[in-house]
Amino acid sequence: MTTIETPAASTKPLTGTLPQTGVTPVHEPGLIRGGFEALGSSVLELLVFVGNMTLFNLSAMRWLAYRPPRWRNLKPLFYAIGVASTWVVGMTGCFIGMVLAVQSYHSFREMGLETRMGAVINVTLVKELGPVLAATMLAGRVGSAMAAELGTMRVTEQIDALSALGTNPIQVLVVPRLVTCVLLIPLLTIIADCLGIVGGYLISNELFGIDSYFYWYYTSKFVALSDLVAGLFKSIFFGYAIGMVACHRGFHSRAGAEGVGRAATEAFVMSFVLILFIDLVIGTAWNSLYRSWYPDVSESLF
């Protein structure tokens, strides 16, 4: 057996591998070199991640085009993602509408514009808060669950079993989830919008005594169909982002309970950041487009 002498026994440089573990001792690099190495490593990891995510997306799109999911596979997902999320999303929308009314009442009252609160609350709801908060709730409730489920399937070799049975896991697992998210999140957004509008109205009318005629008059005057469409349009991308990130993280989950937990956490965090980013990009693009198509829109709330 190869032995390595102690420094006291010999002044020879310590080289070779540890006989018991086969590990070669690694010496720490200098600070500057180490920093560059860490930076380069991070950049490479980012590139790998982006490339991996892109290929994952392309593969899912390809399978979606080749073999759309069957209703048998979609049905349980429609229930888990859609039906089971209805009350969570509805309650969230309702409370958001109420909170908006409570927070904006005193400011509008000081200006004597409390009758126009309906316009502000409802525009904010259908255009921004409804889609974003519905998507956030789904990222937390559905995205994390999907990532954990797929991560567990990865760890327990169920994904390998799918391949071994001659099927493609992306086609069987990812495409149905993606389709379900894209189809159902706009519907859930509508539920959140509706209940948010009801919640805002109840607080404004019942608690603060705002006349319902003026509330709905200004709402109908300032909330356009395009606002609702803008919100729903964004929610489609939110749904895609949630489904894709959750499936990607689940597919690439590391082994063990810690790996699955990390996949679920990453799915939520990445989805949330992506939702806000998409909201910013699409919101800006939509407004620019809308203004360019309808330059005469100059009605002011005040």
Binding site: I4, L14, L18, G22, P25, Y66, D160, S163
Partner: protein, 511 residues
């Protein structure tokens, strides 16, 4: 033949949309629907031809494919009945000596199982029915073993009686051998050897050549169809090399046990065979086709020809047992939905599961039951190659024996190859035609081959390499010293005290 699996062309195919292009290999017409190719790929005849590979618009492809998909022969209940043995399906290639040694090595615990077969093994503690091939294989070593076991005259008579019942296949010399065994005063061994030798010579099949202990002497391609070939395969995970320049070939019908320490790359081998991972170097081919060069559709279609029993069964836990077994059949549309219940029930019965189990979820089953469901799911697609990843790990001895028996029954199909990754030496001795032992790269010298042993199970215990013998006997030997580096102490030869691993890791090079 039952018409299960048939698919009439006027029936609705499925509620899902079907792509108008082929799911097949290059060269296939693009108007072949996906399921036709899958069906044809999955349903191959014994000689490996694809019966439905040609085109047909009138449903003949479906009929042909369906006719190639008969229900499985019902595997007899596991313990109570003897394993089926026919002339058409002789036991896997073994020499007489190897059979004898195999029987000698089987040493399961005492099982309290009634067996009515008069030929129930008296030569080993496992109360298992003796197949005709095993009776045929009674030879000198076994006879010695019979004597060593102090068999009674009646037991020997029962063997003779059973042997006579198979007179159309069992030749007179074997009866003479039994006579010789029953008369201790006679020169038993020599006579028996003389009379059994012609039987052994008659029984030898070409496939016996594939199980020669000498790994260099492999059969030529003309004799046997090579199902799986590894050529200089190397696989790394990050900086860790798991497989290095691995080369071996597995012919059709052979059952190979891959053994070795944990972490030596056995499961990686299985995943390479089915194309779940790709080698960093070298070539893994199935029937001569390089898996790495196949496109996604082709490799997906190729995987249907494999059955994979995963270590933890890998059942889909969101589905019932019924849906688990039906999954592959539905995906490839091999069985009509109306025929599915009967088909699933047959598959579950084959592996010894009760009828009511199909509505349960995997979490409600025991480990052994899950393994059996996994086996039923894999066998439902009629694979040409079965891969077993530690099929008996974590099971009690009884269930281990049941799973071993199921493997034997599965591998009784001569057209099916089997690769078993296991640590269980009883599985090796019972099921393997050939054993390949791998060794972890980290413990090998740079120029040392990773395969320490390639040959029949009988040669393991007497192998000159102590690492092979230690593994087979379960002896840690010097490896026990790794438990505590402090035990190393001073080397008596050199007087040098090996350095503590932590000191080495923290050491800095001299300036």
């Amino acid at each position: 033949m039952s018409d299960k699996g048939k698919r009439s062309s006027d029936e609705p195919q499925d509620e899902g949309w079907e792509p108008p292009w082929s799911f097949g290999v290059e060269g296939e017409p693009v108007d072949t629907p996906a399921w036709e190719f899958s069906e044809a790929e999955a349903l191959t005849s014994e000689d490996g031809d694809h019966p439905a590979s040609d085109d047909s618009d009138d449903g003949t492809v479906h009929e042909a494919a369906a006719s190639q998909f008969p229900p499985f022969p019902l595997i007899v209940p596991i313990i109570e009945e003897a394993r089926p043995a026919t002339e058409e399906t002789p036991k896997e290639p073994q020499t007489i000596e190897s059979r004898a040694s195999r029987v000698r090595k089987v040493d399961p615990p005492e099982l309290d199982i009634q067996c009515e077969d008069p030929c129930d093994l008296s030569i080993g503690p496992a109360p298992r029915s003796m197949t005709r091939e095993e009776r045929d294989s009674i030879s000198k070593p076994e006879e010695s073993l019979l004597l060593a076991r102090n068999l009674t005259q009646s037991e020997l008579e029962s063997i003779k009686k059973s042997a006579r019942q198979d007179s159309e296949s069992l030749s007179e010399p074997l009866n003479q051998a039994a006579e010789a065994v029953s008369s201790p005063s006679e020169p038993v061994v020599d006579d028996a050897a003389e009379v059994v030798a012609p039987v052994a010579a008659k029984e030898e099949k070409p496939r016996i050549e594939a199980v020669r202990p000498d790994p260099q002497a492999e059969p030529s391609d003309g004799e046997l169809e090579m199902m799986i070939e590894f050529e200089d395969v190397t696989k790394r995970f990050r900086n860790q090399t798991v497989l290095r320049d691995l080369t071996f070939r597995i012919p059709r019908g052979q059952t190979v046990c891959l053994i070795g320490e944990s972490g030596c790359g056995k499961t990686v081998n299985l995943k390479l065979m089915i194309g779940l991972i790709r080698p960093d170097k070298g070539r893994v081919s199935f029937k001569g086709e390089d898996l790495a060069r196949m496109n996604e559709k082709k490799i997906t279609a190729t995987r249907i020809k494999f059955g994979f029993l995963f270590q933890m069964a890998a059942l889909f836990d969101s589905m019932s047992i019924y849906d688990n077994v039906a999954f592959g059949l539905r995906e490839h549309r091999l069985v009509d939905e109306k025929d599915m219940p009967d088909y699933i029930r047959e598959r579950l019965t084959e592996v010894g599961l009760p009828p009511g189990v199909d509505s349960k979820k995997p979490a409600e089953l025991s480990g052994g039951q899950r393994k059996r469901v996994g086996l039923a799911r894999a066998l439902a697609l009629k694979p040409e190659v079965m891969l077993y990843d530690e099929p008996t790990t974590g099971l009690d001895p009884i269930m281990t024996d049941i799973i071993n028996e199921l493997i034997l029954q599965t591998q009784a199909d001569k057209s099916r190859s089997g690769i078993i990754v296991t640590h269980e030496m009883r599985t090796v001795t019972k099921c393997a035609d050939r054993v390949i032992m791998l060794y972890p790269i980290s413990r090998l010298e740079p120029d040392e081959p990773q395969i320490l042993y390639d040959g029949p199970a009988t040669g393991l215990e007497d192998h000159p390499d102590p690492r092979v013998r230690q593994f087979v006997r379960g002896e840690a030997g010097e490896r026990l010293r790794e438990l505590n580096p402090d035990r190393l102490g001073e080397d008596p030869a050199t007087g040098i005290v090996p350095m503590d691993p932590d000191d080495i890791m923290n050491a800095r090079p001299p300036r």
